[in-house]
């Protein structure tokens, strides 16, 4: 087990952690979830059939672990609010009230804005953006991780950029209006 862990860690750990971090937007949670990913992967490593590459398989497991966590948080939030049904497509948008991570704070303002607005995109759009632009996966690898066709990846990527643009423009307008009113 240790040997396998060492190999996976040395090859993929940085990417996996980064992917989880950007999905859940919390270092502590990402640290916990990455452990869960290794447990699942090491436990089922012998049954991995190799129909996809090892890399995309790992991402795929990480995706499920993160989504499970996000949905559990949403359910908890709904229960706390006394709602069982969520009538909007905003499940993925558990509002991030945490301060920006230090790694983001020291970046240019554009980067901070993109990080903030990415959260407003749908679950699918966030997944594609993270895999394509942050993780630099190819369209084919992204399709493999998400279990989609390449065409769906392209369409979702296109829509994600459009959506991000809309949110960024609205964000900029809102900020300028605030400035004027001051």
């Amino acid at each position: 087990m240790r040997e396998e862990f060492e190999r996976l860690y040395n090859t993929y750990h940085h990417q996996l952690f980064q992917y989880l971090f950007y999905l859940v937007r919390s270092r502590e949670v990402a640290e916990e979830l990455v452990q869960e990913v290794y447990i699942k992967v090491l436990d089922s490593f012998n049954t991995f059939e190799g129909r996809s590459s090892e890399k995309t398989w790992l991402y795929s497991v990480a995706k499920h672990v993160a989504i499970d966590w996000i949905r559990k948080q949403t359910r908890k939030k709904r229960k706390a609010e006394g709602k069982e049904y969520e009538w909007s497509e905003k499940e993925f948008q558990v509002e991030d009230k945490n301060p920006l991570p230090e790694e983001i704070v020291i970046q240019k303002e554009e980067v901070q804005q993109v990080y903030k607005m990415l959260e407003k995109c749908s679950e699918d759009q966030q997944q594609v953006v993270l895999l394509r632009y942050v993780q630099s996966l190819s369209i084919s690898e992204t399709a493999d991780v998400l279990g989609w066709t390449e065409s769906k990846v392209k369409t979702t990527q296109h829509r994600a950029i459009k959506s991000l643009k809309k949110h960024l423009e609205e964000g900029t307008t809102g900020f300028m209006q605030e400035e004027v009113s001051k």
Binding site: Y22, E49, R75, E84, S88, E110, S151, I161, T172
Partner: protein, 409 residues
């Protein structure tokens, strides 16, 4: 703040500049944490939970009540699914449901809050119709309710995989096909048939489905073995998940739970052990895909149609139907489920009933009018499924003909 306008390439470039995030755990610390969690949490790959002592008596009580439900309905006249005068019968069915749910402690009492949610949802579009309600009811007195039982309530919905070849990309979508049911079947039997015939897996793994149970907004799938869904490929896992999302929501469920070999949970492909999955109850509308032989319905969710208003709120039923009617085919592979010769003039939402008023254009030469109207009715019915509406009335304004669908059954 930069005033420079955002464009696609600037956004793409900025995305690649999102900084790397490094794990602060050391490799050794991480391995120790994994080892310790692994020992605590997962002694084997799948660790079913201990059987609860009340489960057998509860199941026996549920079975007895289920038998009563099967025996009692023949003593009542009329078609329980379609008649407008079946309140008594429905109340018998509802009472049985309540008793069954009381016996089954595993069912979470979700309906009350879901009703609250839907009330709010419906009020968004329905409040302005308060005045109209009386008028609509007066009008209804004169309308002829279709005397024949509608085919709408006697169909099984099957999910099919539809591959879009028009751009040679091989896009794969889950579409809904309607299949008529000759025998009167229980909801559980319908669900079983529906799922097994929708099975997208190469190994037909849903044949391991032993039984289906329902409890309010929860549907339980009981498999013969914990490994029934273990061997799914990544795409099969995704497709099966989509089938659950697309099919089970049509029957009004908000969550699907799994049992295997009498224990809670199942290994769901690479996702590992899963006890339940939330179902996307937020679809808004259905569209049509037609090929040479048949037509299928595709959900707005699957077709990635807009499902929210400009303010970001999900569309209510009236808004959804309006959206379905006005859809300009942005994509050439699906079209509106509202035929070109049909004009939806109004949608009213008095209480928990939806009334859709339509007229048929006489100027057009219409082919397959009946088939197209039937598809239109089905689309309206399925569109109503995420809302907790009790009734749907589809009213031809000119002839007064009413197709009435009991959504609360």
């Amino acid at each position: 703040m930069s005033n420079e306008k955002w464009n696609d390439s600037k956004i793409e470039e900025t995305l690649t500049k999102l900084p790397p995030m490094k794990d602060k755990q050391s490799k050794d610390d991480l391995f120790q944490a994994i080892e310790s969690r692994s020992k605590k949490e997962i002694p084997s790959r799948f660790s079913p939970k201990a059987k609860r002592p009340w489960i057998l008596p509860a199941m026996a009580a549920a079975a007895a009540i289920f038998l009563m439900v099967l025996i009692i309905p023949p003593f009542f006249n009329g078609d329980q699914q379609f008649s407008t005068n079946d309140a008594d019968q429905n109340s018998v069915m509802n009472t049985a449901d309540v008793e069954e749910n009381a016996a089954d402690e595993s069912a979470e009492p979700e309906s009350e809050s879901s009703l609250d949610g839907s009330d709010n949802d419906m009020n968004d579009g329905g409040s302005e119709d308060d005045e109209n309600t009386e008028i609509a009811n007066d009008e209804n007195d004169e309308e002829q309710v279709s005397p024949e039982p509608s085919q709408l309530n006697q169909v099984i919905y099957i999910a099919n995989s539809y591959v879009l070849d028009s751009n040679n990309t091989g896009d794969n979508f889950i579409v809904i096909e309607k299949q008529s049911s000759e025998d009167e079947q229980s909801l559980e039997e319908i669900l079983m048939t529906s799922l097994q015939q929708s099975d997208p897996t190469s190994g037909q793994y849903l044949s391991d489905l032993d039984s289906v149970k329902t409890a309010e907004s929860l549907v339980e799938l009981h498999f013969s073995s914990a490994s029934s869904l273990e061997s799914l490929t990544s795409s099969e896992h995704e497709q099966l998940n989509q089938v659950f999302q697309e099919v089970l929501t049509l029957y009004g469920f908000a969550e699907v739970a799994f049992e295997s070999g009498g224990e809670t949970g199942i290994i769901f492909g690479q996702q590992g052990e899963v006890t339940s999955l939330p179902l996307a109850t937020n679809n808004r509308g259905y569209y049509v895909i037609s090929d040479e032989q048949d037509s299928y319905l595709i959900s707005a969710r699957m077709a990635e149609e807009e499902m929210a208003s400009e303010s970001g709120d999900p569309l209510n039923y009236a808004e959804t139907v309006a959206k379905m009617a006005e859809t300009e085919v942005s994509s050439d592979w699906y079209e509106s489920a509202i035929p070109s010769f049909v004009d939806v003039s109004e949608v009213r939402l008095p209480g928990t009933t939806a009334e859709v008023y339509y007229t048929v254009s006489e100027n057009e030469e219409i082919q397959n009018e009946e088939e197209q109207l039937e598809t239109f009715f089905h689309a309206l019915k399925l569109t109503a499924s995420p809302f907790t509406l009790d009734n749907l009335q589809i009213i031809n304004e000119e002839t007064g003909e009413v197709v009435e669908v009991d959504l609360a059954e």
